[in-house]
Each structure stands twice: as structure tokens, then as C-alpha cells.
């Protein structure tokens, strides 16, 4: 036995810090008696250790690799208050219904993090550890952000309440549509879609995530035609209207230039994509706050790491980070549409974005109590394969502080875009009215819509075209404490 692997007396500091390799659990990263402090950042990981790897040692390794540790003992630990800086795995539970997965709870001292920096927070928590060989797979399921850290972030520049006051729209979900086809339209034709949809009754239209500045449509041209459409629609309806002008670009300088032009033209909202990165998002949030602009975030790319249950980062964690980073809108699932989304999991995401305080809610995948300390609320956006015939389900599942986006469900209407928009708006107002009157919209919804369609031809045509369309697939990302198929 070499000196490096010889058993050592951990109580003796000289022996503990002798050069060589010891288990992470022995290095102090496993502390089952640890009581997390109110100021600690807490993380819950789903770990799938390689065969033969003890789950406690795996949890300790995750704590170590996401805080101070490296693979071997280093004497330079002794130059620091190393016990303070070590993350502590304090609880490991088997995941219900699985053979090889464990929930590991880890506490991080606040001193490990820079104020107001998602980049720093994530560089620690998900920086190195996801490629760690002793683990087959690793997923960050949830985090508790202590109030002390929440208060170092500005949060959403506008928030749900101020957005509603600015738009003068209360008591119902907002309605939007993404312009389709998402690529290929000229600026003038693109603006036509915006005008028709807004005039017909939508509150917002939206650039898609990959509409930036391509050969078929330069960004300035798009902005000019879109703002003509927005202003025309406002004058025609007497309502405030908006279109999310996507400012995503290759550099911050380009994004600022585009955002400035959007502001100059009087747009109430700009848009960014998640793929621009956390620091860029925080910079654009500062810009939006400085310029009284609503900031819409499209979660482009998230499915690469949020969807699979055993590896990656849960969207509820992304939702928390984005509320801190400061966006006003974020796509968070539809439950009933074409994209992934278990009802309970999606409601968990919505609660994280909209509530002032989240209690532990295992059924919805919320593992920690979270106090948002007055941080403004993010408006979730439901987009992707939804139509007027599902309005009662959307309202029941998602509530009224949400943007419902019907792209195909507006633009694909057999009577045209305006009619498509009108169908959605009439369906929505009809069901909000009925819900407020105390009617059971979940069960009576189809009848209520059919009755409204008698006085509204566009709604009738929408129901005739899409009434039967559902996307019934089992979700992959479901909470562990219930198992359901996506209902539609």
C-alpha cells in the first residue's frame, strides 16, 4: 500500500491533509447532521451513480466538485476557512419508483457566490460536475435561493402588475401569436401578419426565436413594418398593442443597437432568446429597466437539458434563475399543446414564476420553500400547438396571468388571420365571463364555446377546423410523486 492510499486519522489535521486521495465523504462534503442555515443556497440533485458507487459518496462528490474540491487532497486547503467553503451534502433519499436514482440535498454557504450574478451561481452549481465520471447521470431538480441572495438581483424590469397597467389589460390572459412562416417572409409581408392579428383581437404578436436578421428580411426593415402595423392596429381598435421585436444578435453591441431602435420606434416590448446566455440576459434586463420596456424571453434551446428526467437541469430551476436574472415573459409550457409538459410539472413552473412565495409542493415538483422577497412576477407564456377549442382547459390549468400564444391557431384560420384572432379573443372572453359567473368551465367549456360560436362565425370555423385536435403523449419530465399522462 502506497503512502497516498494508506488509511488516515481524519481527526488529525496533519494526517487528514497528507498528500493523496481520500473519499469525498471523508473530506467533509457529507454532513448528515448539518442543519441548513436560512442564508444557505440549497440544491437538490437527482444522482444516478455508476454501478458499485455508494450514493452517499456520489452525493459528497457532487457537493465537492460543485464547490471547493478537486480529486486529490491539497495542502492549500489549510490556508483557507475550508470547512466554511465546502458545500455539504446533508441528505440522500432514494427516488420513489426507481432502482438506481437518489435525491441528494446539498447546502452552499452564501460566501461562495457573487452578488447578482447568474453566471457565477451557475458556474458553481452546474459548472464542472455534470461530466463527473463516477455518475452515470445527474440532474439539478430544484434550488432554494435564500432571501439574502434574492435581494442582490433586480428581477423582472416590468413584472406582471406593471405590464398590465401599462397595457391597460386586466382580468384575462393576454393573447399573442407568433408570425408564421417563421422564416422567409419579407418585412412588408411580415408586417401584414402583425397588423391582421392585432386588429383581429390579439394583444401581441411575436418574432420567432430564429428571426434575427437574415437575407430575406433585415432587422431594421422588420421593425419599421411591424411598428407601422402596431400603430395602425392601435388606432383601429383603441387598444394598446405590442409586438415582441427579437433583438437577439451575434454580439451585445448589435443587441443594444437593435433594442435602441425598437425603443426609438415606440415598441412596448423587446425579445431575446435564452441561447444568448445568462450574462447577456442580465445585461438586456438592465437595458429594459432603463428604458421602460417589457422583456420577453424565448426559452430557445432549453429542451436540450430540461427534458430528460435523469440528466440536465429541470426547467423549474431555469425559471427561478430567469426570475432572478430579470425577464418579464418566459415560455413555460402549455400542458395541452404540441410541446412537452406534464400538467403538474408545468403548474410548478408557473407557480415559481408568479407567486410571491412557494411552499413545498412535491406533487408539482417543488422541493423547497421559496420566499421571493417582493421580487416582481414573471408572466409565463403558453405557446405551441394550442387553439381556441382548448380555451377552457388552458384557463383552468394556467390561470389568467399568462400570455396564450396561438400562432398556427390564428394564422391558419380558414377565414383569415383577423378571423383567427377574433375567434381566440371571443373564446377567451366568453370563458372568463362564464368562469367569473361561477360556471364549471372544465366540464361545460365545449358547450359554452359552441353557444358563443352561434353568434361568432370565426369561432365556429375555428372549432370546426381544430375542435378535435389534441396532442396526447406521455410526458418525459413528470414529478416523481405522481405519474400522469398529459391530458388534452
Amino acid at each position: 500500500m502506497s503512502d497516498a492510499t494508506k488509511p488516515r486519522n481524519l481527526k488529525n489535521a496533519a494526517d487528514r491533509y497528507r498528500a493523496g486521495v481520500i473519499k469525498y465523504a471523508q473530506m467533509g462534503y457529507w454532513q448528515p447532521d448539518y442543519e441548513p442555515k436560512d442564508t444557505d443556497i440549497l440544491a437538490l440533485f437527482r444522482i444516478t451513480p455508476q454501478e458499485g458507487v455508494d450514493p452517499v459518496e456520489a452525493a459528497a462528490a457532487v457537493a465537492g466538485e460543485s464547490s471547493t474540491a478537486t480529486w486529490t487532497v491539497v495542502w492549500t486547503d489549510r490556508l483557507t476557512a475550508c470547512e466554511h467553503y465546502r458545500a455539504k451534502a446533508y441528505r440522500v433519499d432514494p427516488v420513489p419508483g426507481t432502482q438506481d436514482q437518489y435525491f441528494a440535498y446539498i447546502a452552499y454557504d452564501l460566501d461562495l457566490f457573487e452578488s447578482g450574478s447568474i453566471a457565477n451561481l451557475t458556474a458553481s452549481i452546474i459548472g464542472n460536475v455534470f461530466g463527473f465520471k463516477p455518475l452515470k447521470a445527474l440532474r439539478l431538480e430544484d434550488m432554494r435561493i435564500p432571501v439574502a441572495y434574492v435581494k442582490t438581483f433586480d428581477g423582472p424590469p416590468t413584472g406582471i402588475v406593471v405590464e398590465r397597467e401599462r397595457l391597460d389589460k386586466f382580468g384575462r390572459p393576454l393573447l399573442g401569436a407568433t408570425v408564421k412562416p417563421k422564416l422567409g417572409l419579407s418585412g412588408k409581408n411580415y408586417g401584414r401578419v402583425v397588423y391582421e392579428a392585432l386588429k383581429g383581437g390579439l394583444d401581441f404578436t411575436k418574432d420567432d426565436e430564429n428571426i434575427n436578421s437574415q437575407p430575406f428580411m433585415h432587422w431594421r426593415d422588420r421593425y419599421l413594418y411591424c411598428m407601422e402595423a402596431v400603430n395602425r392596429a392601435q388606432a383601429t381598435t383603441g387598444e394598446v398593442k405590442g409586438t415582441y421585436l427579437n433583438v437577439t444578435a451575434g454580439t451585445m453591441e448589435d443587441m443594444y443597437e437593435r433594442a435602441e431602435f425598437a425603443k426609438e420606434l415606440g415598441s412596448v416590448v423587446i425579445m431575446i432568446d435564452l441561447v444568448i446566455g445568462y450574462t447577456a440576459i442580465q445585461s438586456m434586463s438592465k437595458w429594459a429597466r432603463r428604458n421602460n420596456t417589457i422583456l420577453h424571453l424565448h426559452r430557445a434551446g432549453h429542451g436540450t437539458y430540461t427534458r430528460q428526467k435523469t440528466h440536465g437541469v429541470s426547467f423549474r430551476v431555469i425559471a427561478k434563475w430567469m426570475r432572478l436574472a430579470g425577464v418579464d415573459h418566459i415560455h413555460a409550457g402549455t400542458v395541452v399543446g404540441k410541446l412537452e409538459g406534464d400538467p403538474n410539472a408545468v403548474q410548478g413552473f408557473y407557480n415559481v414564476l408568479r407567486e410571491p412565495h412557494n411552499p413545498v409542493d412535491l406533487q408539482r415538483g417543488v422541493f423547497f420553500e421559496q420566499d421571493w422577497a417582493g421580487l416582481r412576477k414573471v408572466m409565463p407564456v403558453a405557446s405551441g400547438g394550442i387553439h381556441a377549442g382548448q380555451m377552457h382547459q388552458l384557463l383552468t390549468y394556467l390561470g389568467e396571468d399568462v400570455v396564450l400564444q396561438f400562432g398556427g391557431g390564428t394564422i391558419g384560420h380558414p377565414m383569415g388571420i383577423q378571423a383567427g384572432a377574433t375567434a381566440n379573443r371571443v373564446a377567451l372572453e366568453t370563458l372568463v365571463l362564464a368562469r367569473n359567473e361561477g360556471r364549471d368551465i372544465w366540464n361545460e367549456g365545449p358547450d359554452i364555446l359552441a353557444a358563443a360560436a352561434k353568434g361568432c362565425l370565426p369561432l365556429k370555423a375555428a372549432l370546426d377546423t381544430w375542435g378535435e385536435i389534441t396532442f396526447n403523449y406521455t410526458s418525459t419530465d413528470t414529478p416523481d410523486f405522481v405519474a400522469t399522462a398529459t391530458a388534452a
Binding site: F170, G201, A235, G238, E239, G266, K377, V432, N436
Partner: protein, 139 residues
């Protein structure tokens, strides 16, 4: 044209029974109902005239309805809306707002464009009715 501000403007004008049902919903949520009116319906005219203060202490739908009726009677050719205010922490804002009276004729808005450099246009929305002085707009 029909101005579509407010929660239910895409539906046929609400009957008194329907208005009352919405007021009951607001009161059941603990919100304070108020009535406002204007003859300047510009989309960014935030401050309509208040028909008295929000009725914080009036928890009876019939009583609120009588205020709605009185405002409509006093201003039969104005826009009148019912608002519900929620004073709970984190909201402190209107939660429902819908039009319950509108002028017989709604002439709508003109969009004025001022051409500027680089194809920029600055836009102004002007109400045809608001060209006349307050009180004479929807005679």
C-alpha cells in the same frame, strides 16, 4: 368602430344581470369596485374621471349596481367602466376592468404619421371625438 378596451369588449354588450354577476365575483374576491367614465377613450388615457371613490366598504352587489346605473344615467353618451381593485400585497392593482356603457356613435381614431430620417415615422393616435372640448364630444 367599436373600442375594444376592457375585459369583455369582444362580447355583445353585457346585460345588467351579467354586469351584476361580475360585480358579485369581484366582491367575493374581496376587491373594491369602482366606476369611471370618460369622453376621451385614447388607448393611453389612463386616468378616466372617477365616479366617486372605490367602494371599499360597499360589499353588496345591488348597492354597487345602483352606482353603475347612476353613472350611466348621468353620462349616457360617455364610456363608463367598472374596475375591481385588489389591495393585497404583490397586486395592489386593478384585477378586472370592463366597459358597461359606450357612446351611440364611436368615430374612432386617426393615425397621424410624421416622416423622419431613415424611414422612421413618428406616430400619433388622435381621437376624432376628442377634437371637440370635453363634454361636447359625443353630443
Amino acid at each position: 368602430m367599436r373600442i375594444t378596451q376592457g375585459t369583455f369588449s369582444f362580447l355583445p354588450d353585457l346585460t345588467d344581470a351579467e354586469i351584476r354577476a361580475q360585480i358579485e365575483y369581484c366582491l367575493a374576491n374581496g376587491w373594491a369596485v369602482s366606476v369611471e367614465f370618460t369622453d376621451d377613450p385614447h388607448p393611453r388615457n389612463t386616468f378616466w374621471e372617477m365616479w366617486g371613490q372605490p367602494m371599499f366598504d360597499l360589499r353588496d352587489a345591488a348597492g354597487v349596481m345602483s352606482e353603475v346605473t347612476a353613472c350611466r344615467k348621468a353620462y349616457p353618451n360617455h364610456y363608463v367602466k367598472v374596475n375591481a381593485f385588489d389591495s393585497t400585497r404583490g397586486w395592489e392593482c386593478v384585477r378586472l376592468s370592463f366597459i358597461v356603457n359606450r357612446p351611440k356613435e364611436e368615430p374612432g381614431f386617426a393615425l397621424e404619421r410624421q416622416e423622419a430620417q431613415g424611414r422612421n415615422i413618428s406616430y400619433a393616435t388622435r381621437s376624432y371625438a376628442a377634437r371637440k372640448p370635453e363634454g361636447e364630444r359625443y353630443a
